[in-house]
């Protein structure tokens, strides 16, 4: 009797949800047609009509919306990758720093964590951005940070290897009438997003690292000390390998958060995936499709990152012979 009730209840629930989704889809499709927009992903092959200033691959207004999304995706991945590496390094250092014997250093690291964890990320991005475009010089008065390295309101201009007929050549940034061209230019938008993501996520990573290292049994470090290892060696050969095992799942979580947080780029005009989707949405009217693309891409990125971290975790467990 219970089984029948359960079955019918479940069928009702699933049926209800499917019906609601179908109903919504029809309403939306009808509304879109009413506005003169044909629902579907065909618009991705249409001409975009807008330029993207900060692109890793060649893109101009005659390229498709689909290509625009690709540019946005590459921008998301590039800023997230830089921030991941930087925040892991900074966060690791801060986490270990909180456990340093030097009380002053420990307190400083704690203060950092308390400061950067409790201010919204968007605010940090805006503060860094306003600092950069406010205080950096105009391009023709750029600061020289080295041979062919220039820092200005247009960003950090670096020499960058480029394929030409003569093979791999280092292309130098050159100051034109208005700004630098050639080489690689890290725009203030990119730098603001990367810096804020790093500073914010590092605070969380520091807590994860600290927690994991503290959880490694004190007996381990005492035994290492008894064996004659000094602090640095204890850390490197005894504590960190064990801490890594418990660190990886929460660390993976923080990196996933970082990837999702990179969507804030839209607030400072960095053309990441969300920003490009926003422009496309407004211009083409395909709101549902664009948002669906955003969600699908981020879900995919989450899955990939989670898979990488899981396999690393698995490898570590096997290496160290399990628990």
């Amino acid at each position: 009797m219970m089984r029948w009730r359960n079955w019918s209840l479940q069928c009702l629930v699933v049926g209800g949800v499917l019906l609601a989704l179908y109903g919504l889809a029809s309403i939306v499709a009808a509304k879109m047609r009413g506005l003169g927009v044909e629902p579907g992903f065909g618009f991705l092959w249409q001409r975009a009509g807008f330029d993207i200033g900060d692109a890793l691959i060649a893109f101009d207004a005659s390229d498709t919306y689909g290509r625009a999304f690709l540019v946005g995706l590459l921008n998301t991945v590039s800023v997230a990758s830089v921030a991941i590496v930087a925040s892991l390094l900074l966060g690791g250092a801060l986490g270990l720093g909180q456990l340093a014997r030097n009380r002053l250093l420990a307190r400083l690291c704690e203060a950092y964590v308390e400061l950067f964890r409790n201010v919204p990320l968007l605010l940090q991005v805006l503060i860094v951005y306003v600092l950069l475009i406010g205080r950096l010089p105009l391009p023709h008065e750029a600061w020289s940070l080295g041979p062919d390295v220039w820092l200005s309101k247009s960003g950090l201009a670096l020499p960058w290897p480029v394929f030409t007929d003569a093979g791999l050549v280092l292309e130098r940034p050159v100051l034109g009438r208005f700004t630098f061209s050639g080489g690689a230019v890290l725009t203030p938008e990119f730098m603001a997003v990367a810096a804020a993501l790093t500073l914010f996520t590092a605070a969380y990573i520091a807590e994860v690292v600290r927690g994991s290292v503290q959880a490694v049994s004190k007996r381990q470090s005492e035994a290492a000390l008894a064996l004659g290892l000094n602090d640095a060696q204890t850390l490197r050969f005894v504590i960190v390998p064990q801490a890594l095992r418990s660190m990886i799942p929460p660390l993976a979580n923080q990196l996933l958060n970082l990837i999702k947080n990179s969507s804030l780029a839209v607030a400072v005009g960095y053309p990441d995936l969300v920003a490009v989707a926003d422009t496309t949405l407004n211009q083409s009217g395909h709101a549902v499709e664009c948002i669906a693309i955003i969600m699908a891409v981020y879900l995919f990125l989450s899955l990939v990152t989670a898979a990488i971290m899981n396999s690393w975790h698995g490898r570590l467990l096997r290496q160290q012979g399990g628990y």
């Binding site: 207004a61 475009i133 406010g134 247009s154 005009g269 407004n282 211009q283």
Partner: protein, 340 residues
């Protein structure tokens, strides 16, 4: 007996012809005693309330002229500030009689919504705002420059098409809202800012802090003709609004100004001026207006040139050149058919 019959017949005919030409909107305005004019929530030079609450601007002056023509008093206007979302529905629903709100004339708006544009008040176009120190005279010199745009309208598209047509390249920086663009442009992040020229002029005047340091380039890379909108189906009101604009243009062409209109009315020999000011014929009769309608309009707001000068011209806050908005004899396109 015959004479009085003829007199009565003429009177009746005159009354009938008078009412037959005054349409439903005009009647409603006369009954209400006020012209319901839809304006913006505050665009300097076009429709903005000053610190005392007085409305000023190009679009405002058109409504004042209409009130002077229909109600004989330019102050009998009820102002309705409307957002971009509300503007057309307010007109369609009858809440306002005319929408005078720097709204771009496009096919879609003129044909599909039960509305119709009654003429050009100001022909705008997308332009560029640049710092004066760059010493640029034309947008074509902006090759390689970083250009700030606000997303969400056709601005990015027009920019890209301009670049392609002139074989130059921009680095486009797109921002979500106007304030973000202002923050970026005025801190020097980008070397140019593109938007409708009238908006740029207003921004240069109000939001730059130092208008002398910035200039609006003369290039117009898109067509944005602005004009009053009325409801479809009321041909008489449509004709009235349309010919009001033409009368203002014709007055400028004939040299009638706010200052000299009284004198000209008394002393002119020019038959066209006489017609216009109601000295000889009654050109306004088919529109349901009396013979002094143009005189009252000119007395209230002046001719088109004066309206332009006062609100958006080179000596006003916006400092816009007359350019394409001039009379044909001065190189513009503001042409009026004859009022006769």
């Amino acid at each position: 007996m015959n004479k009085s019959l003829i007199a009565i017949a003429t009177m009746v005919a005159a009354m009938l012809s008078g009412t037959a030409h005054a349409g439903k909107t005009t009647d409603a305005i006369r009954e209400r005693g006020q012209l319901a004019c839809g304006v913006s929530t505050g665009v300097a030079g076009f429709s903005a309330a000053d610190s005392k609450g007085e409305w000023r601007g190009l679009d405002v002056d058109l409504c004042r002229a209409l009130a002077a023509a229909v109600l004989k008093d330019p102050t009998k206007v009820r102002w309705s500030p409307l957002t971009s979302q509300q503007r057309f529905t307010a007109l369609q629903s009858g809440e306002i009689d005319v929408l005078s709100r720097n709204t771009t004339w496009t096919l879609g708006r003129d044909a599909g919504q039960g509305l119709v544009y009654a003429g050009y008040m100001f022909i705008d176009g997308q332009g560029f705002l640049v710092p004066s120190r760059l010493r640029i005279t034309s947008a074509k010199q902006l090759n390689g420059a970083e250009v700030c745009v606000q997303t969400g309208t056709t601005t990015e598209k027009n920019l890209a098409e301009f670049a392609r047509a002139n074989k130059i390249q921009f680095k486009t920086l797109m921002f979500e809202n106007l304030r973000a663009v202002l923050k970026a442009f005025f801190s020097g992040r980008c070397q140019a800012f593109t938007a409708d020229a009238s908006a740029l002029a207003s921004i240069r005047a109000n939001d730059s802090g130092k208008p002398e340091d910035y200039m609006v380039l003369p290039d117009r890379i898109s067509k944005e003709p602005l004009g009053p909108v009325v409801r479809r189906g009321d041909e008489d009101w449509f004709a009235l609004v349309r010919w009001t604009i033409f009368a203002l243009l014709e007055a400028e062409e004939r040299g009638i100004t706010q200052a000299n209109v009284d004198e000209l009315r008394k002393t002119t020999d020019d038959p066209a001026v006489q017609r216009l000011l109601g000295v000889s014929e009654e050109v306004g009769k088919p529109l349901g207006l009396d013979k002094e309608w143009v005189y009252r309009m000119l007395k209230a707001v002046g001719n088109y040139g004066e309206i332009f000068e006062r609100n958006v011209g080179p000596n006003s806050l916006l400092q816009l050149p007359r350019g394409i908005n001039a009379l044909p004899r001065d190189g513009g396109v503001m042409y009026s058919p004859p009022l006769r």
